[in-house]
């Protein structure tokens, strides 16, 4: 629980920082509250950690996916959590004085705590997927922090770049972690760390390693992904001090330390990690010297030191591993204090340009002394912590043996990088604090910052000194615990003492110090050389690439999505054709084993009419009214085909639907243009014809191939149980109201929804309609045309009678609720057609909404009633009633369900048709 609290507390602290945001002091106080508590909780665990124990807590979450809320506290996570909380608290104090009146403190500290929480989550996670989620959260919250001054363009661009690079790396890391999980079979660190040999032996190891390293290198700003870090310097300096010294960029190297037992120990590891570290170390050191921006120097120096740490991990000995962790601690302390010192100078002078800043010693001796000590630590001067880890580093470069006969080059390059590191540290000291007088300072004369703004720097510099002078008393237990946790085993014997006698590492340090002095002395020629080089602006290149990618994506998108529905349809149809063709390819012969049925003349004639009428519809499609005639002929022939092939129910349904569909289409023609213009090109029509023919051929072949093959039907079940189980002899109807009753309920719901939807669409729709027909004749205004009127009145009772008849017989003979409903609708709609909407509406005050709703209710309640008798929904009611009262009563429940179907069909159909009928008729009310 304490572990979870350490992560959650800073997050909850966001509330305090928001509640107390009235002034900067209160806000900082509210912000500091919860991290202090979390720090207390963490320190309470120190005994367990220093004794080498690992605390793991686990709450199951999505265990099937391997994602549990499991946390881990061991030496390594303790060390990092300590850095995050400790330096975080110092930065909060510092930020209180750094932020100006115009900066909203609530927003700043809110983002800050969100970042702190996510970072704690990264280091305290036991589950790798959980860690990745926190990892992404750090990317997001650092984006907000870097872009805190969102009115500044460079801040926005820098933040975007940082997010793109680290977020992209996060994706690679996700893939890598998934691969590791796939290899190990678990995402829990305990299992993963124990399975190092399995992972390294697996064929996917190189891929997993590369993906994980992509995440690490982007986060820790390793070459060639280092370019985002200098751009992120647009952030407020407290953010840089926190994110870019101790936390965010250390997440990458943290992961190297964490996964070291699982992934290291191969040539892949050595070459990828070691060489990247080496390149970054050198590049960062050289570039740092060439910067004129104070924070730029620190940014490239951070890159260089991260390279050093990465190189140490890459050297792949247990001892270098300990040295790497030691340097992580040292770098965090001296770099955070340097960032803060740079912020103080910026704050007090208004500039960060080293060419303007000279002689600061005179104005702020106290701050200058602190910054000088921290810089000397960065340079690796004895009696400071930077010296200790640098000595270990030099010793390790000598000890490596993986490079074979080229082994000698690594210590040489390391010494060179060391010299450059000395040179830029000297520049930070000499150029800024001495070297003449300041030039055109925006704020003159500068003076010391507020007392409390210096305290965080003082604390950190004190740590640098203590660690540098008495390492055994200060950092040793922490380092032992962290090293052992990272190695997942005992750590090798090593010595933290300052003096190891005259040896090669000491000589290398000496060369680096004197060489660094020499390089600094010659710096002006270096600057001239650098200025003569073609300048690469990483931001512009990055944004250019981004724009090019976006343009490419737009083009690719345009290819598929050009806003033309016709094109989409062609693509969909072609894809469907391809899929069917691929599926049919293995077919040996088109004709199957079942004998064909006899040809008979009348049926062939029917089919010929059907085919001709279909084609006629296409031919006459531009004359919309004319085209409707062959279309309705096709519909009628289809219903005859159903009748011919023993499906009387279908024939009846098709016939009645045909009538309402044609009425619907005629109604719409009233508003739509009567003719279709020719607008497709000849090519397009040819293409469409080809696609259409291909679809037709495919359908013919498919139908033929299926029909000539034997098949195994489940029909026997329905046929055998229809009378005994469903109580009806018309099996189709029994399937609809009993066996598949639930489907039917769904279908009448769809029908009712369509009706209501249409009502909504037509609501308040006023369409202009033509006063004359296509022949130029005015429309008849006679609302009671005599012949139609008389016919309709006489038809109504007869049609209703027929629909009752069809409904009643439906369970045993062709008929049923669907068909009866459609017949009733046709009878009613005929009244609308012959008498007009208003007249009819006055005489049949039926609510079609209500009718559809009641239909669904009745059908649904019929099903529910079976529950009351202890049977399952819808199906078993028949069986229950069947036993005591044979015949009649058993039919009744089926009929009740069918009545629901009937009402829903009538209600929905009438909603659709009657509302279509009065669009544009301002004077009449909508049919409810």
């Amino acid at each position: 629980m304490a572990l979870a609290l350490i992560i959650v507390l800073p997050f909850l602290g966001i509330c305090f920082s928001q509640l107390m945001r009235s002034t900067r002091s209160y806000c900082a106080l509210g912000t500091a509250l919860t991290p202090i508590m979390a720090l207390g909780l963490l320190l309470a665990e120190r005994k367990t950690v220093f004794s080498g124990q690992v605390r793991i807590v686990n709450w199951p979450w999505l265990s099937d996916l391997g994602l549990d809320l499991s946390l881990r506290l061991d030496g390594l996570s303790f060390l990092f959590a300590l850095l995050i909380l400790g330096i975080g608290l110092l930065v909060i104090l510092y930020a209180r004085y750094y932020l100006s009146e115009s900066d909203p403190p609530g927003r700043f500290f809110g983002y800050f705590l969100a970042f702190m929480s996510s970072m704690l989550g990264v280091v305290l996670s036991e589950n790798l997927l959980l860690m990745l989620m926190f990892w992404e959260l750090t990317s997001l919250s650092s984006f907000l922090l870097i872009g805190f001054w969102n009115h500044r363009r460079d801040a926005r661009r820098g933040a975007r770049m940082a997010l793109a690079v680290t977020g992209g790396g996060g994706l690679a890391l996700l893939a890598g972690i998934l691969l590791i999980g796939h290899i190990v079979g678990s995402f829990e660190l305990t299992q993963v760390l124990a399975a190092g040999d399995t992972i390294r032996a697996h064929a996917l190891y190189p891929l997993a390693l590369i993906l994980v390293l992509l995440g690490v290198f982007t986060k820790s700003a390793q070459f060639p992904f280092h370019f985002w870090l200098p751009r992120a310097m647009a952030a407020p300096t407290p953010v840089s001090a926190f994110l870019h010294s101790a936390t965010m960029v250390k997440a990458g190297v943290f992961l190297l330390a964490r996964l070291y037992p699982a992934l290291s120990g191969t040539d892949w590891w050595f070459f990828l990690v070691g060489l990247t570290g080496m390149a970054t170390l050198l590049l960062g050191a050289v570039m740092a010297l060439l910067q004129h921006d104070l924070k730029g120097v620190l940014a490239y120096s951070t890159i260089s030191h991260l390279g050093l740490i990465t190189l140490l991990f890459g050297l792949d000995s247990d001892f270098s591993q300990v040295a790497a962790i030691f340097h992580i601690i040292n770098h965090a302390t001296f770099k955070a204090s340097l960032f803060m010192a740079a912020g103080i100078i910026d704050h007090e002078t208004g500039t960060r340009d080293i060419r303007q800043l000279h002689g600061m010693w005179r104005y702020m001796p106290h701050s200058a002394a602190l910054a000088i000590v921290a810089s000397l630590s960065m340079a690796g001067v004895p009696l400071l912590n930077g010296f200790l880890s640098k000595e270990m580093f030099f010793a390790e470069t000598l000890g490596q043996h993986l490079f074979g006969s080229f082994g000698g080059i690594i210590p040489v390059l390391a010494t060179l990088a060391g010299a450059f590191s000395v040179a830029y540290s000297l520049r930070f000291i000499h150029d800024v604090f001495f070297n003449g007088k300041p030039v055109d300072l925006p704020i003159y004369p500068p003076h010391e910052p507020p007392r409390y703004m210096r305290i965080p720097v003082e604390v950190l510099v004190l740590i640098c000194l203590l660690v540098g002078i008495v390492p055994g008393l200060t950092v040793a237990p922490l380092l032992n615990a962290a090293g052992a946790a990272s190695l997942n085993g005992p750590i090798p014997p090593y010595s933290l003492s300052i003096w190891h006698g005259f040896n090669t590492p000491l000589l290398m340090s000496f060369i680096a110090l004197t060489g660094g002095g020499l390089i600094y002395f010659l710096r002006n020629s270096l600057f001239r050389w650098h200025e003569s080089l073609p300048q690469l602006n990483s931001l512009e290149i990055f944004e250019h690439v981004q724009r090019a990618l976006a343009a490419l994506a737009r083009k690719a998108n345009k290819l598929l999505d050009n806003g033309s529905l016709q094109r989409y349809l062609v693509l969909v149809l072609l894809s469907a054709l391809t899929l069917v063709a691929v599926a049919l390819l293995p077919l040996d012969s088109l004709t199957g084993s079942v004998a064909l049925t006899q040809l008979d003349g009348i049926t062939i004639l029917g089919f010929v009419i059907m085919a001709l009428a279909s084609m006629a519809t296409v031919v006459f499609q531009r004359h919309r009214l004319v085209a409707l005639m062959p279309l309705s002929a096709v519909g009628l022939m289809v219903s005859l085909a159903f009748l011919r092939y023993s499906a009387p129910d279908l024939a009846l349904t098709q016939l009645s639907v045909e009538v309402v569909t044609i009425i619907l289409l005629i109604l719409s023609i009233f508003f739509l243009p009567i003719r279709t213009p020719i607008e497709s090109t000849r090519f397009r029509r040819g293409r469409d014809l080809l696609v259409a023919l291909a679809c037709g051929v495919m359908m013919s072949l498919l139908a033929y191939a299926v029909m000539t093959r034997p098949y195994d039907s489940i029909a026997t079940f329905f046929l055998e149980n229809s009378v005994s189980g469903g109580g009806g002899t018309n099996v189709v109807n029994v399937i609809l109201v009993d066996f598949r009753g639930f489907d039917t309920l769904g279908e009448i719901c769809v029908l009712a929804i369509a009706g209501v939807g249409i009502y909504g669409l037509l609501h308040a729709l006023r369409l202009p309609f033509p006063k004359r027909d296509y022949g130029g004749r005015t429309w008849s205004i006679d609302s009671h045309p005599m012949i139609l009127d008389d016919l309709a009145r006489q038809m109504l009772p007869m049609a209703l009678l027929i629909s009752v008849f069809i409904f009643m017989r439906g369970h045993n003979l062709p008929g049923g609720g669907f068909i009866a409903g459609l017949i009733t609708s046709i009878a009613l709609i005929l009244q609308y057609i012959s008498h007009g909407v208003i007249w009819t509406q006055e005489r049949q005050p039926l609510s079609y909404h209500g009718m559809a709703g009641w239909g669904i209710c009745i059908a649904g309640l019929t099903g529910l009633s079976s529950l009351a008798f202890g049977h399952t929904y819808l199906t078993s009611a028949f069986r229950h009633f069947h036993l005591p009262l044979i015949g009649e009563f058993e039919l009744a429940t089926a009929m009740l369900f069918d009545l629901g179907v009937y009402l829903a069909v009538v209600g929905a159909t009438m909603l659709i048709l009657s509302n279509m009928g009065h669009v544009g008729q301002d004077e009449c009310k909508e049919v409810a």
Binding site: A611, S614, C695, Y704, Y711, L767, P814
Partner: protein, 109 residues
């Protein structure tokens, strides 16, 4: 007979698809109607073509497959509802956008 049936089905489907690819909503609806006729017949034919074998118990000695029939029956009714919905959507579109082009705007020249 199966071959004649299949060929007719193909012609209906081809006519339907061709109309479906037109640019104005009305031919598209007609195409949709034709295509649904074809598809309904196709699904129906999955129960094979039987003469004089309605699925009514006691009316004949053999019975056709009632399941595809039940499926097609509801498909016909739902098909009507969907046709109606598309048409009304088109009418609404005509009211709002002043065009019956399927893209909701006249083709840009």
């Amino acid at each position: 007979m199966e071959a004649v049936f299949a060929i007719t089905l193909g012609i209906m489907a081809a006519s339907g698809v061709y109309l479906l690819l037109r640019a104005r909503i009305f031919p598209v609806v007609m195409g949709l109607t034709l295509l649904s006729y074809a598809v309904n017949l196709f699904i129906f034919a999955m129960g094979r073509l039987g003469t004089g074998v309605p699925a009514v118990i006691g009316k004949s000695t053999e019975y056709g497959d009632p399941l595809p029939q039940a499926l097609v029956l509801t498909a016909i009714v739902i098909g009507f509802a969907m046709t109606a919905f598309v048409l009304v959507l088109a009418l609404r579109g005509l009211g709002e956008l002043r065009t019956d082009h399927v893209d909701g705007q006249e083709r840009r020249k």
